[in-house]
Assembly symmetry: none
Homo-oligomer: 218 residues x 2
DNA sequence: GTCCACGCTGTGAAGGTGCTGAGGAACTCC
DNA sequence: GGAGTTCCTCAGCACCTTCACAGCGTGGAC
């Protein structure tokens, strides 16, 4: 599960990153509104934790723009309890849930899990690329209707590649998102797992782009 | 009997959870409107206790949406007596009964029992997955028409797995829903009980998905 | 054609994950 | 009080996954 945390207070941001990583999430942090918006557009995240007070663009604005562009990423909003901003505003803008600072970490986690279980309303529950189908809930992958058995890591890798099908994805990106960030895994691990995947889903389907990364053919 | 309590004040929520659990109900708690709505949609509860003031979506809105989707789960609404919200509003939205805070626990229980006696008109009373049948009210399980004797914990585990048949359910999720949340039970307990269940309902029916959880084959 | 950096893969070690039997604590029913 | 349940922890085992390493193959620049 990949999360995007958009928060400019660096102490809170890194506390969240550490805590959530310990729960098994892959966490990226953006420190401004524009950076967050951009990451949300391209990053293939499963949910976003979004502060309201941000440099550049407010959290409200970020959600509004995302929704206007038909991105249905689940958003959990955080706001300082200074009365200026109202919970209703956030939800009207299209956030899915709302927490007021200071908040309990346990509560954050519970809400986040609920959000992830619910998923983005308009997101197809099954990913399809060519004759490949991946069902995250059932944790099943089929290739031309034949079941493919994958290990946890292989599954996570394919999941990510399918969400970004057609794009070139660099090894660094894969290490950040499929492996735990900060795990110091050698880039060769990616090559190894790409190899495993190719044996299972078909060699030609997962192209190497020399010097840049890999691309899952659409 | 399974209840869903949707209440964001954690003290009240956990008091209700403890009290109702002591009466023999299985109680899940959701702490926001969206989370409650979602749980009500998928959880197969026998009744819902729903606060009006909730983050995310008001209790009114939750009931209205449920009814619009043809869910007829009995709903008992709770509201603070601040005059802003009116009893009539709640009932207009589709709630079945209404209590004003502060309320007596005995009254709550009495109303709740009345509600459960009435029951949801269209509710399926028995869960069926393959040749397994589980009747929550009678607390009975049969496998190919032969009765299976289960302990309380085994029953709760099978109940949850059957409600999510086909999906992969993680050990953490099982600990949260089948064991009391916050009980600090070791994940190994899940493995042990999965083992017990397998002996009783058939080994192959409950698959292990390594690194992810368990799946009850549909 | 030659060279070199990049990518691929077979091997194997290390550690992780899940299953099971044994047993202790708490509880209920005689 | 004793017998029987039930719940849960623990430790040991078997198997699987993950990943580092090293040697080989290959594409592309010249």
């Amino acid at each position: 599960m990949r999360l995007l945390v958009v928060e400019d207070e660096s102490r809170l941001a890194s506390a969240l990153q550490r805590g959530l990583a310990a729960e098994g999430f892959a966490v990226d942090v953006a420190a401004s509104g524009p950076a967050g918006l951009d990451a949300a557009r391209h990053g293939g995240y499963d949910a976003m934790i979004l502060d309201v007070m941000l440099p550049g663009l407010s959290g409200y604005e970020v959600v509004r723009r995302l929704r206007a562009e038909e991105h249905w990423l689940p958003v959990l909003m955080l706001s300082a309890k200074d009365g200026e901003y109202d919970q209703a505003d956030g939800l009207d803008c299209g956030a899915d849930d709302y927490l007021t600072k200071p908040f309990s970490y346990v509560v954050l986690l519970a809400r986040l899990r609920a959000l992830l279980r619910r998923g983005a309303p308009e997101r197809p529950t099954v990913l399809t690329v060519g004759d490949l189908r991946l069902d995250p809930a059932r944790r099943r992958v089929t290739r031309a209707d034949a079941e493919v058995a994958l290990t946890a890591r292989e599954f996570a890798l394919l999941d990510y590649l399918m969400r970004r099908a057609g794009e070139v994805v660099s090894k660094t990106e894969l290490l950040d998102h499929v492996w735990d960030a900060g795990m110091e895994t050698a880039p060769n691990a990616v090559e190894v797992y790409v190899g495993y995947l190719r044996r299972k889903i078909g060699r030609e389907r997962l192209e190497t782009v020399r010097g840049a990364g890999y691309r899952l053919a659409t």
